[in-house]
Symmetry: C2
Subunit: 269 residues, 2 copies
């Protein structure tokens, strides 16, 4: 479908965390414009690893730029989450909210635990919090000149489905694409967030003025063998789709922790 509820073409908000000149957002814009009217809002500098950061103590700049032919595009000095907040409150202030937000295509994995560090996914999550169905796309290739050709038909199909049928009870999808050729990609798996962790090492070195510094490095380690996770899907040649949300309650711990409720008047002196 290329029409929304009002009968016109849907509006698609495109954002990312790598900035306006990343090949990943160029690929995403070129796919999204087949399905609707595209509005781009992206940070004016790379914002990888920004998580759900927002700018509180500083002013934010926002201005229109001419980057994609015939596409409305805005550059923002804030974080990826700021981009989405400004899109909703300022750019779309006097228009209907976008029908869909797509973020990416990120250069590098946002599968498993990476979602909490990811600017790409935080931008998408912010849109979902604003009530806009939202999808973050990431390709498992960290290089700047990553090749998005194999991703293209799958990203298009997922966007098409999201516009046609919505996201079911979900508002947010975390989509990761293995670094494989079109023929090698086996298909799509809907899965849960896998249990993995970063095992960090800091590179320790001395700057030109003789002062010590640390630089983050590390390795991502899978912590489970299950076959229903995004890590398994990606390791086995599938595109992973994880419906995601923002309720961080650890429900299984609620009952066992009730004993803390004894902390009150007589307990605390």
């Amino acid at each position: 479908m290329s029409e929304n509820n009002t009968g016109s073409r849907p509006t698609i908000l495109v954002t990312n965390d790598d900035g306006m000149f990343a090949p990943g957002i160029k690929a995403l814009v070129s796919i999204a414009k087949e399905f609707g009217e595209v509005v781009v809002v992206a940070p004016d500098s790379p914002q990888s690893g920004m998580g759900h950061a927002i700018t509180i103590d500083d002013p934010i700049r926002l201005h229109k730029v001419d980057v994609f032919p015939e596409i409305e595009a805005w550059e923002c000095s804030g974080t990826p989450v700021d981009c989405v907040k400004l899109a909703k409150q300022v750019i779309f202030n006097d228009r209907p909210a976008p029908d869909l937000c797509v973020s990416g295509i990120n250069h590098g994995s946002n599968a498993s635990l990476n979602i909490i560090y990811s600017g790409t996914m935080s931008a998408a999550m912010e849109a979902s919090l604003e009530g806009i169905n939202s999808i973050g796309f990431s390709l498992l290739d960290y290089t700047f000149d990553a090749d998005f050709e194999a991703s293209r038909p799958f990203v298009a199909a997922i966007i098409s489905e999201a516009l046609k049928n919505g996201l079911g009870p979900a508002r947010l999808l975390n989509v990761n694409i293995p670094k494989l050729s079109r023929e090698e990609i086996k298909g799509v798996k809907v899965c849960r967030q896998g249990n993995a962790r970063w095992v960090e090492k800091f590179q320790e070195a001395v700057d030109p003025r003789g002062k010590k510094y640390y630089w983050l490095t590390g390795q991502f380690e899978n912590q489970e063998e299950a076959d229903d996770t995004d890590i398994w899907a990606l390791d086995n040649g599938y595109i992973s789709v994880v419906p995601s949300m923002h309720d961080l309650t650890d429900y299984k711990a609620l009952e066992p922790l009730k004993s803390l409720e004894k902390i009150n008047g007589p307990y605390v002196t």
Copy 2:
């Protein structure tokens, strides 16, 4: 208990997002040192709203400072999450991991949805990801000179319980304290993360050089009436304790989305 598994006093890592000179961390250090050996690692500038941001593209500085009498303290140029990563990998590199991490006391609420924007809670979550039981404390008072006296006995009791009995199946608690006198605080409620959202407005203005800027402002709005949420607890005079975690899978959406798995070979051309 003031002994850990090895029979010595427990080690408590104290961190925050407001920096070393915030009254909230001073209060937390003075409470924590009653229960164990305290090591402080805090950012060298305020980092509110930094979410789970990490520093990837820049070096990070870390140096010892003499701020709290007889307490080992380190100042870090990175985000709250960077502080905890450096604590684990560098400061505790050749010592046993801390027995507990406490973050805060934050000046302002981290209840409900605030957890995803919060530097305080992201630091605590990072420690939990490293396998360290962790508690973020926040007082519902945004002012710099907030009064932490009424919080003190409750924070002490929760730390004491966590060291004595652990956190049950949880690894992370989000503790918020209403801005009330000691007598007005009714006790502790273990609850789920309430459903609320920020309704933003950006202040739009012009800088001294004539360029437009936006500055984030907004209002937090409760979205539900339920009496088992942190928002309800705080509105009704209780300290809220929400066991929290990092699995963002929207489980109820997994099955309805299975139809996306039709996107493969024959579907994508």
